[in-house]
């Protein structure tokens, strides 16, 4: 085991799977010689060659569309889109084709592709580089959406994403690419998709989050603990399919829920979770389900970014309100 950051952990997962599966191809803009704009694919072209680590033309719809055909033929394409804000050019390919290839061909052709893309704010990036619009993809039947929150999680979830027989959108929180290091198992630590993880146990409150927002949420839970409030923290890990059971079970126990995400509030995934809690755990609720989210605005340019992103204080405030309701 060695201490790795998220970038290194994903690199290790890709290397591991490329060694295992000779039909795995990496494709994307600048992923070869340059190692990707965040260096996630660094060194892979040296080990696996230009045939398997392909610098493509600048062409998001083309990359995803081509990957669909490759996958149908029998390869395992893992593609990188440089930023989530550039993935919209490939939306039609994802929604109209990748997501429904299995269903529209009655299972004859499948689409085991992984679309990796950095996402989220907090990296002082230009426009279109800090998007958090995971709900678009969660709303699309046929896709799976995965968001890791730590290096070990990133590796384990990536291994499963690549092995998954269906298309997976793998959102890499850019803010924590290099911010956290932890011990990452060298071998095969595949983490099953579709299972949330419970990080802390508590009886007073459930905090539900994913990706980079896990870290301020954990800090908020620590602060609440100092005041004697015991919070359960749930890291969703897979946004689609959503692990409702873990969420419901926890809120049935705690009676209170705060959902934290950096995506815009309206129709964000928090709205879906709140609705499910109302449908399935209403009588357990001791307080309204609260959401701590970004605003319904495009994520601002770097100078105003900190006013947009949820922080520890906001999470603590929402949690206190829920507990004091």
């Amino acid at each position: 085991m060695s201490k790795l950051n998220v970038v290194q952990a994903i690199n290790q997962a890709l290397r591991h799977e490329m060694e295992r599966n000779p039909d795995l191809i990496l494709m994307g803009e600048d992923i070869g010689k340059d190692g990707g704009v965040f260096r996630v694919t660094e060194g892979l072209i040296d080990q696996f060659g230009e045939r398997r680590v392909v610098d493509t033309p600048l062409s998001e719809s083309g990359i995803v569309g081509v990957a669909i055909g490759m996958a149908a033929y029998g390869l395992t394409p893992v593609v990188e889109i440089q930023f989530m804000g550039f993935l919209y050019a490939a939306m039609e390919q994802l929604i109209s084709h990748a997501a429904r290839l299995r269903t529209r061909t009655r299972g004859r052709y499948t689409c085991p592709i992984v679309v990796r893309t950095p996402y989220g704010g907090g990296i002082h990036a230009p426009e279109h580089h800090s998007e958090s619009t995971e709900a678009f993809f969660v709303h699309t039947p046929g896709l799976k959406v995965v968001v890791p929150s730590t290096p070990a999680e990133a590796k384990g979830l990536m291994l499963s994403a690549i092995r998954d027989p269906d298309p997976v959108i793998f959102l890499e929180p850019a803010k924590i690419y290099r911010a956290i290091k932890e011990e990452v198992p060298e071998g095969d630590n595949a983490i099953p998709l579709g299972e949330a993880r419970l990080l802390t146990e508590g009886k007073d409150l459930t905090l539900i989050t994913w990706g980079a927002m896990l870290h301020p949420t954990l800090k908020a839970a620590d602060r609440m603990a100092e005041k004697g409030v015991e919070a359960e923290v749930i890291d969703l890990r897979t946004l689609s399919p959503l692990d409702s059971a873990t969420i419901i079970r926890s809120v049935e126990k705690t009676g209170r829920a705060v959902i934290i995400h950096e995506a815009p509030k309206t129709c964000g995934l928090g709205a879906e979770i709140a609705a499910r809690l109302c449908e399935e755990a209403l009588l357990s609720l001791e307080a309204p389900v609260a959401r701590v989210t970004g605003f319904d605005t495009p994520i601002p340019l770097p100078k105003n970014e900190k006013y947009y992103l949820p922080d520890v204080d906001q999470i603590v405030e929402a949690a206190e309100q829920a507990v004091g309701f």
Binding site: D23, S61, M70, A72, L75, H97, R106
Partner: protein
């Protein structure tokens, strides 16, 4: 400094069989009587299939359908040049190609009737089901060609689309990849002159669609799309070139959609009667029949026999299509993911109960 020409290009037009049914012997692709009659039989079969589809739609036995009349030569010529191991990616106006590839006609009727089982391509066929969004299947074909090249399989891929698709980004992105990576693919554009109500002049300001290939670094050729011999020759050359590893080709089949865009469209709103009449004279079936009469003494009696046989085949397909038992609606949950998600399992159960209650009420 004087300006200099840095590159020049030309686009060739290929016609072997003219409108009077005469062939250019110098360009003859070496087909024998049996093959030629096979082409004719296929074209008549597709026309019969199509006429029946339009009738079924008018009688309410079929949903919206996209007719292919006028484009039979483009489809028969290209399909005949394909090998079973090649892959095809059709748009939605290629029932002829699919039929000739072996897709049961019943399934095409089934698809247009709204039954998803019509998209279940038989396991031994390397065909994609039809793509409804325009041009978006072109990158898929390119990806399959890339995968074939990667695996070293000696196969070619054919992507079919119309003139409207050449306005879409996916067309350009797909052709660009194919050119850059020298992939074993043939792009077969059936330029039928109309994308619903919008004429070719609104799809492009270019003199030909074939020339678009040149911008991507490979050869484009325009062929008389109503001349089955020209289409066959161009497709065969391009597919062989692809299988040899010499890269992609764009074939523009210059043809015409004689019918409406779909059964939900009325082309008389935007198309002049005289224009359609001009193209009716170029009907690919009429033209090949004239050739058969001239070269092989094809008679009215031969014609009648063939028409009857094709009608019987189509009637049998309609019978099979209408005999298929209804689809179980619960299957909508089964084929979305390899393993249904907990939400899908719950929703399937809701539908199951609903169906059961409905049954009990009846």
């Amino acid at each position: 400094m004087p300006k200099k020409v840095v590159h020049e290009f030309k686009v060739e037009f290929l016609q072997i069989l003219d409108e009077a049914g005469r062939v250019d012997r110098a360009l003859w692709p070496g087909l024998d009587e049996k093959e030629i009659k096979g082409f004719y039989e296929s074209m008549v079969l597709i026309r019969t299939f199509d006429e029946k589809a339009l009738n079924l739609q008018r009688e309410g036995r079929l949903g919206t359908y996209a007719s292919v009349q006028g484009q039979e030569a483009a489809q028969v010529g290209s399909a005949a040049a394909l090998r079973p191991s090649d892959w095809i990616f059709p748009a939605f106006r290629e029932p002829g190609v699919s039929i000739l590839r072996g897709l049961p006609m019943r399934m095409i009727y089934q698809y247009w009737s709204g039954d998803e089982r019509g998209s279940a391509i038989p396991e031994d066929q390397h065909d994609f089901p039809i793509a409804i969004p325009v041009g978006t299947h072109i990158p898929h074909a390119v990806g399959a060609a890339w995968a074939a090249q990667f695996k070293g399989d000696p196969v070619a891929v054919a992507a079919f689309f119309g003139d409207g698709a050449t306005s879409k980004g996916d067309f350009h992105e797909g052709l660009n990849f194919a050119g850059v990576f020298r992939l074993p693919i043939v792009f077969i554009c059936q330029n039928n002159h109309w994308a619903i109500s919008v004429p070719l002049s609104r799809q492009t300001a270019a003199a030909t669609l074939a020339q678009k290939a040149i911008a991507y670094g490979f050869e484009g050729i325009q062929v008389d799309g109503n001349d089955v011999f020209a289409v066959y020759t161009a497709a065969k050359n391009a597919l062989e070139k692809a299988r040899r590893g010499e890269g992609p080709t764009l074939i523009e089949c210059y043809t015409y959609r004689l019918s409406d865009h779909t059964t939900a469209d009325d082309a008389s709103r935007y198309r002049k009667v005289e224009e359609v009449a001009t193209w009716r004279k170029k009907d690919p079936i009429v033209r090949l029949r004239a050739f058969l009469e001239r070269e092989y003494r094809w008679s009215e009696a031969d014609e009648q026999v063939l028409r009857r046989q094709m009608q019987e085949r189509v009637a049998a397909a309609v019978h099979e299509f209408e005999a298929v038992p209804p689809q179980d609606p619960q299957t909508m949950f089964d084929l979305l993911y390899a393993t249904p998600t907990p939400d899908l399992i719950r929703q399937k159960e809701i539908l199951r109960k609903r169906l059961q209650q409905k049954k009990e009420k009846e």
